[in-house]
């Protein structure tokens, strides 16, 4: 390799490191998570093995695990046996207590640790602190119910120690039922494609992108670019400044201002009520009003990018052409139609493609304004993925299913990027360097 190549890799190394660690790795992981049933309950990093009442009831009627074994595993048992007593003597307990416990309770069996604790509490030489009583009682627990095991080997060992030899098939079935972590599955995708709700969400998404794009990101952007072109420069720059405000304002603040406009105690009502319009919360009044605000909020932000790009494209039109047309007596509308608009074809295509992608994936403004409401009428795909993966009223976040929804967007986004790359002539963008050393 040349020195230049080494320098190039050196120059790219920090970028590569960052992008791989926090960008590509998450992409790969999202792809992976999409094929798991990962949730809050299963944990992300894996689970443990634990027999609980729930596991016992799920195992009932199992063909692989014999019923007596299931019943035995469901029992809790504390036995004051020699092993436990020896451990007790080894521990840092008062000798009088150890002796009394052996004498009073030795050989007895208790149906739960709680009962044993009760018995210990009644001893004359009992430890003073609850914690020490629990530590002592712990030594006599002989069952596996509600005990956590970090690995399958530990689990199997404890079960065999408690219930005697267990056939392999039964042990496998037990371990599967007792595992609290996640497993691989393709259920997310069948669920995704069969879900009528997501169908609605998909329709919402298409509507949202189409409406915002045509009305504001290209439509109104075009109006802004052309009108400001004809205005005196001071006025033009004033309007451009105003329309850039939404983009530079922090979204939290920008959306707040819209809320203030639309709220039941807000500005719109203060203006309209004296005119006889009944007060209401305009952002949540109906499906139509909610969509109107969602599109306005996003559109007012989106219009500025188009405005800037199209303005500079118009300014790039050679002045003589415009003068010539004016001399020919063309009115403004004809000038716009025959000279300006044809020049804006490519910039418009660029804006459309670029902003389709960003509208598809950005949900910040909707999250902050309607959060998909009222009901779920303004829920779009990216927001639904966020809701599924990171919002759950019942505390059980659906990471796996959410990742599957995200993956759909990822695949879509990559596919569209490839199309755009072809469209905008990738080769021209990567012209070969002219210094070859």
């Amino acid at each position: 390799m040349t020195r230049q190549a080494w320098l190039g890799f050196g120059f790219l190394a920090p970028a590569t490191l960052f992008v791989v660690a926090f960008f590509l790795a998450p992409v790969v992981m999202t792809g992976f998570f999409a094929f798991t049933n990962m949730s809050t309950a299963t944990g992300i990093t894996g689970g443990t093995y634990r027999i609980t009442e729930g596991v016992i009831s799920r195992l009932a009627g199992s063909e692989d695990v014999p019923a007596p074994l299931i019943e035995a595993l469901g029992q809790q048992q504390s036995v004051v046996d020699p092993t436990g007593l020896a451990a007790l003597a080894q521990g840092d307990f008062d000798a009088a207590f150890v002796a009394e416990l052996e004498e009073e309770l030795g050989g007895r069996t208790f149906a739960s640790q709680r009962e044993l604790e009760g018995a210990i509490r009644d001893l004359d030489n009992r430890p003073r602190r609850v914690r020490d009583i629990k530590a002592a009682a712990e030594l006599f627990e002989r069952s596996v119910l509600n005990v956590d095991f970090a690995t399958q080997a530990d689990f199997a060992e404890a079960i065999q120690a408690y219930a005697g030899p267990v056939p392999d098939t039964a042990m496998t079935a037990l371990a599967r039922a007792a595992y609290t972590g996640w497993s691989m599955t393709t259920d997310n995708f069948s669920r995704l494609f069969n879900s009528p709700e997501l169908g609605t969400v998909a329709v919402n998404t298409v509507f949202y992108i189409f409406a915002t794009l045509t009305l504001f990101n290209t439509g109104f952007a075009l109006v802004l670019a052309i009108t400001t072109f004809y205005l005196p420069s001071r006025q033009a720059s004033f309007f451009r400044t105003v329309w850039l405000l939404p983009r530079i304002s922090p979204p939290v603040l920008y959306v707040l201002l819209w809320k203030w406009l639309a709220w039941d105690t807000g500005f719109l009502n203060a203006v309209l009520e004296p005119l006889g319009v009944a007060g209401r919360n305009w952002m949540f009044d109906s499906e139509t009003s909610a969509w109107t605000f969602v599109i306005l909020i996003n559109g007012f932000v989106g219009a500025s990018m188009g405005m800037i790009i199209l303005s500079s494209a118009i300014r790039a039109i050679p002045q003589p052409i415009l003068y010539a047309s004016a001399v020919d007596g063309a009115g403004r509308l004809q000038q716009i139609r025959h000279i300006i608009l044809p020049q804006l074809r490519w910039p418009l295509l660029f804006i459309t493609s670029y902003q389709t992608l960003s509208l598809l994936t950005s949900f910040e403004y909707i999250l902050l304004s309607t959060d998909g409401g009222p009901g779920s009428t303004t829920e779009v795909w990216a927001l639904a993925a966020y809701h599924t993966a990171l919002r759950n009223y019942a505390g059980n976040l659906q990471y796996g299913y959410g990742a599957a929804m995200a993956l759909v967007l990822v695949v879509f986004g990559i596919a569209m990027s490839f199309v755009y790359l072809r469209l905008f002539n990738f080769k021209a963008l990567v012209g070969r360097p002219r210094i070859e050393q």
Partner: protein
């Protein structure tokens, strides 16, 4: 041709801009006045909406802590993005190296990528690195997600630097690194400045990343602070929210007034909706 009458256009644009004008005018007005319920115009001057500067709101951190966090977050992200983009952009623009097309194509695709949908996986990575709920973690993530855009912009600026400058540097016996450092870099200062302002504003405004990845009071940024105020249905007070909002926006306004020209430039290639 510009001598034709323009007032209809002015009126049309003013009408379309009215919501914005009203919203931003009242943003300022409402922070130091009170209005009667349902009234359009304020009736009382007051500074009580600014009490949040000295009083803590519930169990939230103080506004100054949040401001400091936001400042650290925005400046660190900017520094990282600038440093990394200015080297990587140069390599992609100018250096003959294997896999250059692959890198460039990668950058272009990532440039318009549904980043936010990756947040669960990003969380997991931060957790493995022990960086969840830290400013460092969310800074690294924000910078990384911003990089493809930064690199792409810087590449664009490098592309406009005439080859002759480098040729002559090399003929004078300098290495490529030295040429970059001493001859090319100064030529793209406008690009660095523009990208810097953009990154700072983007970091300053960022909401979802800190909200999910650094929600603790001690590392909260202003956006998270403000959102938690707004969503607290017990204390719904637009005047307070706007005062916090105006405070939050002061650096944005200053940057905007000073660097308007550069901003117009870079938002032409903007990243969001």
């Amino acid at each position: 041709m510009r001598s034709e009458r323009t007032w209809p256009i002015t009126v049309l644009l003013a009408a379309a801009s009215l919501p914005l004008l009203v919203m931003y005018a009242y943003l300022i007005l409402d922070t130091f006045t009170d209005s009667a319920p349902g009234a359009v115009f304020p009736n009382r001057f007051t500074l009580e909406h600014w009490r949040f500067l000295t009083e803590r709101q519930g169990s939230r951190a103080s506004i100054w802590q949040a401001t400091l966090n936001t400042f650290i977050f925005a400046t660190s992200t900017t520094a990282l993005v600038l440093f990394i983009s200015s080297t990587a952009g140069y390599a992609l623009s100018r250096l003959a190296m294997p896999f250059r097309r692959l890198f460039l194509g990668g950058v272009l695709i990532l440039h318009a990528f549904p980043t936010i949908t990756l947040i669960i996986a990003i969380f997991l990575i931060l957790q493995m690195l022990g960086l969840y709920n830290t400013l460092t973690g969310v800074i690294l993530v924000k910078a990384s997600l911003e990089l493809p855009f930064g690199i792409w912009i810087m590449k664009g600026f490098y592309d406009t630097v005439p080859w002759e400058i480098e040729m002559s540097g090399i003929q004078d016996g300098a290495g490529r690194f030295q040429v970059w450092r001493e001859l090319v870099l100064p030529m793209v200062y406008p690009g660095i400045l523009a990208l810097g302002i953009f990154s700072f504003l983007s970091g300053w405004s960022e909401f979802i990343l800190p909200q999910v990845l650094a929600p603790d009071a001690s590392v909260q940024t202003l956006s998270v602070y403000m959102a938690s105020l707004i969503f607290d249905d017990q204390n719904f007070n637009f005047n307070l929210f706007k005062s916090v909002g105006l405070f939050y926006m002061i650096p944005v306004i200053i940057l905007y007034l000073v660097f308007q020209k550069y901003l117009m430039n870079i938002y032409g290639g903007g990243t969001k909706g």
